[in-house]
């Protein structure tokens, strides 16, 4: 009897123990630790002397060692010619990618390939990065950026995060500021002129003939859907109105594109005053599919090598929408139903209905025309003027039906509702924000969560480094009902626009595959060699931890030298550099990659070369000598 009771007690205790272990195990499974690192907050934690606000911000942005950020942010580097890659929410700078400006760190501008792509230019002005899209959302394949100074565009391949192509200078277009904004399936991106000028390049025309002889245009850059190869498809000539920014229609408004103009006054001097006279300039609405068809039907002339078409050649394709005042950004809402004109000199954003716009177009409801282009009835197409504040420049969107607009003059970001068109929140930005970027914030599927305000002035925000300041980026939390600045982050001059993409969409490779057919590549030390053909010397060099084959290279003064460097360390992150002392040459070869550099051995003497990218414990020994025999 007693024995039986003991058994029962022991069994139930054992059962309880097993149950407890199971429960602990299950609860650990049910609430896994935060994957994103920092996106979940525990506001109730508090420590002596530290406010809940600060703890909340710290927890939302702290990404512990070994963990990755949830989003990539790619910010344009402005007149540095680079782009900058950041991780969000930690706001750690991951990499600088040289695009239009040489960068000895990776040999950009020294390798034969990059030198050819740069085309002799030594700087560029990167304004607006744009991820390739499929179905109106980012697909993680390519990033396109413009060069506002030299009329170029570049494609960055997101498997290697290197520049795959630079197109341009694109003919006939001066200052393509209104670029690049891709169409929803990356058929094109559009570039619009900021500056009017006589075309083709090199044409002289007196400034007094500005209205007649100076042209703007919108250039459609076609993109190969498989390779991403860009080419100029066509250009539509536009009046000299200084086009600022553009956006492609999406979903219901797919097939259209919208451009802001700020100089419909057609001023050519003292624009600050003379281009600010009209209360309303225009947003141009262009049906790019109609233009595409007209061009395909042969309705174009060739100017400067480009297929050029006039608005009057395609009746029904171009309309003018009045918009206050010298508008800057134009942004289409995620559902494609509204077009938001950011007023700049007006303290409000104007919201236009695409549906109403189409009614005006279909019913011929126009309030006039200018230069042969119909002006749609403003009162009909405008659905709201949202009084966001002073100096509205750009708008992005979240997943909850809200829009966020930067207010340059007021130094703030306004949040407003896309149904009631009322401002619901405002946060100060330090100082003077230009663009802003939210996660997937210009797609059909915005993520919300994070917003980064790209501020033009930093002033007292960081430790002083003298009169030249960094720019300031501010990470703003969108997960709470009220916006809150989580972090101030300095950045080199000068991000204009940025894009924020979820990390799961980016698929990179880390080692270049072996490719025997690649010119100059050597994968075996027996194949490493020096060949001479007349006064042309070709070096086929192999580099791997921690040696070069060959490491003694002898040429004659005046020889033309082609030097291939193959990195045969097919090993993650084992990069080798190749710098020649006093010959102004430095390049890098990534794992598995073959690079080529060309130069004339015009300085006799002996010149050490060495691995410039620390590669191994015996990196210091990774060197050789270039012997240049003097002419007799």
């Amino acid at each position: 009897m007693q024995n039986g009771t003991f058994k029962v007690i022991a069994l139930s205790l054992a059962g309880l123990l097993v149950g407890l272990i199971l429960a602990v195990f299950l609860s650990a499974q049910l609430s896994p630790r935060d994957e994103a690192g920092g996106s979940k907050a525990v506001p109730s934690i508090s420590r002596a002397g530290v406010s809940d606000d600060i703890l909340d911000a710290a927890l939302k942005t702290y990404v512990p060692p070994g963990k990755h950020d949830e989003y990539y942010m790619v910010a344009s580097g402005g007149h540095s010619g680079h782009i900058f890659v950041y991780g969000v929410p930690s706001m750690r700078r991951i990499r600088t990618i040289p695009v239009f400006t040489p960068d000895s760190a990776i040999g950009w501008g020294w390798t034969a390939e990059s030198k050819e792509m740069l085309g002799g230019f030594t700087w560029g002005d990167v304004h607006h990065p744009s991820f390739s899209e499929t179905g109106g959302d980012y697909d993680g394949r390519w990033l396109f950026v413009n060069d506002n100074a030299n009329s170029r565009v570049a494609r960055i391949d997101l498997d290697s995060w290197t520049v795959g192509q630079i197109l341009g200078p694109v003919p006939n277009i001066y200052g393509p500021h209104g670029a690049v904004f891709v169409t929803p399936n990356t058929e094109y991106f559009m570039m619009a002129s900021r500056f009017a000028g006589p075309i083709p390049f090199g044409t002289y025309a007196e400034i007094e003939k500005f209205s007649e002889e100076y042209k703007c245009n919108v250039s459609a850059i076609g993109i190969d859907p498989l390779t991403g190869e860009m080419e100029l498809s066509w250009q539509m000539l536009l009046p000299p109105w200084s086009f600022d920014l553009s956006d492609a229609g999406k979903l219901v408004s797919d097939g259209w594109m919208f451009l802001t103009s700020y100089n419909t006054e057609e001023a050519y001097e003292l624009l600050e005053v003379n281009a600010s006279q009209r209360e309303r300039d225009y947003i141009l609405a262009i049906n790019w599919r109609m233009v595409e068809e007209a061009v395909a039907g042969g309705k174009y002339t060739i100017i400067g090598g480009a297929k050029v078409i006039e608005p009057t050649d395609v009746p029904g394709a171009v309309y003018l929408i009045p918009c206050a005042k010298s508008p800057h950004g134009v942004d289409v809402t995620p559902d494609g139903k509204y077009i938001v004109g950011n007023g700049k000199l007006a303290p409000f954003v104007t919201v236009f209905s695409f549906e109403k716009f189409m009614e005006c177009v279909n019913n011929g409801d126009f309030e006039g025309e200018e230069r042969g282009m119909p002006i749609v009835n403003y009162d009909k197409v405008r659905v709201a003027e949202v009084e966001v504040g002073l100096g509205p420049l750009h708008t992005q969107f979240d997943d909850q039906g809200y829009a966020y607009t930067t207010l340059f003059v007021e130094s703030a970001v306004a949040k407003w509702n896309l149904e009631t068109f009322e401002v619901v929140d405002k946060v100060q930005a330090h100082y003077c924000p230009g663009h802003l970027v939210a996660a997937h914030g210009d797609t059909v599927n915005p993520h919300g969560k994070y917003l980064v305000s790209l501020n033009k002035l930093a002033k007292d925000k960081f430790l002083s480094v003298g009169p030249s300041h960094p720019e300031a980026m501010q990470l703003i939390d969108l997960t709470s009902p009220r916006m809150k600045v989580l972090m101030d982050v300095p950045v080199d001059p000068e991000p204009h626009f940025a894009q924020m993409i979820h990390r799961d969409l980016i698929k990179t490779f880390k080692v270049y595959p072996k490719d025997e057919s690649q010119p100059g590549a050597v994968y075996k030390k027996e194949d490493a060699r020096i060949e001479r053909d007349g006064n042309h010397v070709t070096v086929y060099m192999m580099s791997f931890r921690s040696r070069y084959y060959p490491d003694i290279v002898e040429v004659n003064e005046g020889d033309h030298v082609t030097w291939y460097v193959t990195n045969t360390d097919f090993d993650d992150d084992i990069t080798h550099g190749f710098g020649i002392c006093l010959y102004d040459i430095n390049i890098e070869a990534q794992p598995g990659q073959t690079q080529k550099v060309e130069f004339v051995a015009d300085k006799p003497g002996v010149w050490p070369f060495y691995c410039t990218n620390f590669c191994s414990a015996l990196h210091q020994e990774m060197q050789g000598f270039l012997l240049v025999k003097p002419k007799q």
Binding site: F544, R545, D569, F570, D571, A617, L618
Partner: protein
Amino acid sequence: MQDFLKSRLTPVGRVLFVLAALAILISLFFPLWYLNLEATMYPEGLSMEVYANKIGGRIDIINNLNHYIGMKEISEADFPELTFMPYVVGLVALLILLSAGLGRVDIAVVTLGLASVGGMLGIYRLWYWLHLYGTDLDPKAAIKIPPFTPPMIGKNQLANFTTYTGFGIGGYLLILGILLLLIALWRFRECDAK
């Protein structure tokens, strides 16, 4: 002894022989032996796998690291075993199937003997190569270390690398095959009722 050699395998014994042949054949597709290197700067891992007919894994990287201590380059061409091992394994498997078909214990014993000798030779060669690579070091190497023989199964520390070695799935399949043969010959025999 005579009786033993004249006895026959029972149906269960024959099935065990067929299974042994299968295990030995399948072993051709899996690593017989592996070497895993662990070091802080290789979070992704670094390994070498020896198959019956090839060496898998990142021998290019391992070779490059080994050259600092003057170890010879590991190259498939240096291992004659890799060219004939698949045939030996195939032949043994065929003999096992033949034994299973005929059910004759004498042939089965010869087969088992062949398989065991082959296995032991294989293990000896593995030790031989480990010993050779670990002791035949270039005296001009940048980093000089005392000669060593890595364990066939176990753990070894060399500079910043911890090496783990052991038999792979293929190796265990081979062992399993031999065990199955042993079990069949031990328990599943019958004398011919004359």
